[in-house]
Amino acid sequence: MFDIEKYKAACVFPGEIDDSAVKIALAGYCAALKIEREIVRIERGWKLSDYPDLQRTIVEIARAARDARDARDALAASDARAARAALAARAARAALAARAASDALAARDARDARDALAARAALAARAARDARAALAARDASDALAARDASDASAARDARAARDARDARDARDALAARDALAASDARDASAALHRFAKWCIARQYWWDWDLSLISEINAGAHQIKENRVIAWSDPIYDAFLSGASFLFWTDKTLYWVAKPDIKTEIVNGSRRLHCEDGPAADFDSEPLYFWHGNLVPKHWIEAKNDLTADEIFKEDNAEIRRAGCEIIGWDRVLSGIDAKIVDTDGDPMIGTLYRGQIPGAVECGFLKVLCGTGREFVIPVSPEINTAIKAQAWVQNVSFEKWMRPEVRG
């Protein structure tokens, strides 16, 4: 029977992880669904080769992604000769753009393939059949509010952030494709393992976050929906016993234990942050956050080796800002020997530096305070020579037409 106080306590992660209790609960869940699965925990430090059924599923997803690419590539085969000639004539910049486009397509293919298999798993579990009743039950639940301010919510945010990073997904998707073709077994294994972590991190409402499904159990009891109670009771028990989320294959139900969560409170809101380790320490994949932004592991674990040029290769301004904060703005700009060109009296107009990141052209860097009180560094065109002109350039208007904002939100 659902107990809101026990649920609240279970939302504080990691809590006690009781392997055997989780196994019993999840076996009960499968029995309620009238399906058979082996129940297996994904352990810290796992290798894909230790989980042959998972490996088979991941390879199947990667192959589906690759086949989708190949099919689309075949459609364009008639244009291949012209395209090859054009590509040969292009500069490195064009090649980079093509690579980016290719990455994006690869990500989409991989995502589609992964989602298709995940959907099949869901159907096999017969959870989809009960979706409407389950959602109604969840909406009726008193547990919704209890989870909102909890580690459970932060853990879910962490997985969502992991899933949202299309650029990183793309790299992983390409890595998986490369893995399938790799002749070096060790490289192939590493690429496939990265791809597996990406697959496991997928988010849906029915994507087996047990804090979420337990809310369905609470609601099911409230509205006396016995059909949903039958399968959500054991899910609730598994959550209370330490399981965080599930990953299905045709033969196995894998579970991941609740992670240790590190957050900070900003304006009353919790956000993931840890300066010296993972902020969401899942056994399946430790995730690193800097003031709410997902960053690569080595940016935190080996920050002394992090260089300004690596940070500036990051496309996303928030992640780039996070990187600059991690090593410090002074280190960023001094790391590239940037010189002050102009300082405006208004910190929201900023200070213009000039410098050159190794492997890139010399350009300006506008260090500016934004409306949230945080400092950003924005790379600007090399010909800019004052901070205020840099502001106009960033807004893509001529300096003569540029107007200073009256307010900055």
Binding site: R93, L96, A97, A161, A164, D166, V266, N267, S269, R271, H291, G292, N293, F312, K313, D315, N316, A317, E318, Q356, I357, G359, A360, V361, E362, C363, G364, C370, G371, T372, R374, I378, P379, V380, S381, P382, W393, V394, Q395, N396, V397, M403, R404, P405, E406, V407, R408, G409
Partner: protein
């Protein structure tokens, strides 16, 4: 909640908002709302800049520029729980929204700012 007021030019994150005295006609492509919101500034991490779709219509001209026709007083909100940019009040009228750009010193080109 603090809502900023302005007459002619305001900024919210990478967006600059300019109130126009003359409304351009028949340019751009109408943008459909998502969940009742018009996404004036897109964020790949989901931290969009939005206005209530019942109060305005949005037309996108190019990657950097959009026009917002505000029919009923509303506000520009930033969808982020922390480090949120303060909201900005929008009186009825036509507004130009410009998304900031940045230089890519590796590719030697410019691109829209991402957040």
């Amino acid at each position: 909640m603090k809502i900023l007021q302005f007459e002619t030019v305001a900024a919210q994150g990478e967006l600059t908002i300019t109130k126009l005295t003359k409304a351009p006609n028949n340019i751009g492509i109408r943008v459909e709302p998502v969940d009742g919101k018009l996404i004036v500034g897109h964020s790949e991490t989901g931290h969009h800049h939005v206005v209530d779709a019942e109060c305005a219509t949005l037309t996108r001209i190019d990657q950097f520029t959009a026009l917002l026709d505000v029919i009923k007083m509303t506000r520009l909100d930033h969808l982020r729980e922390c480090d949120t940019h303060p909201s900005i009040a929008l009186q009825p009228g036509m507004y130009e929204f410009r998304t900031g750009r940045e230089f890519d010193p590796f590719a030697e080109t410019t691109r829209a700012s991402q957040d």
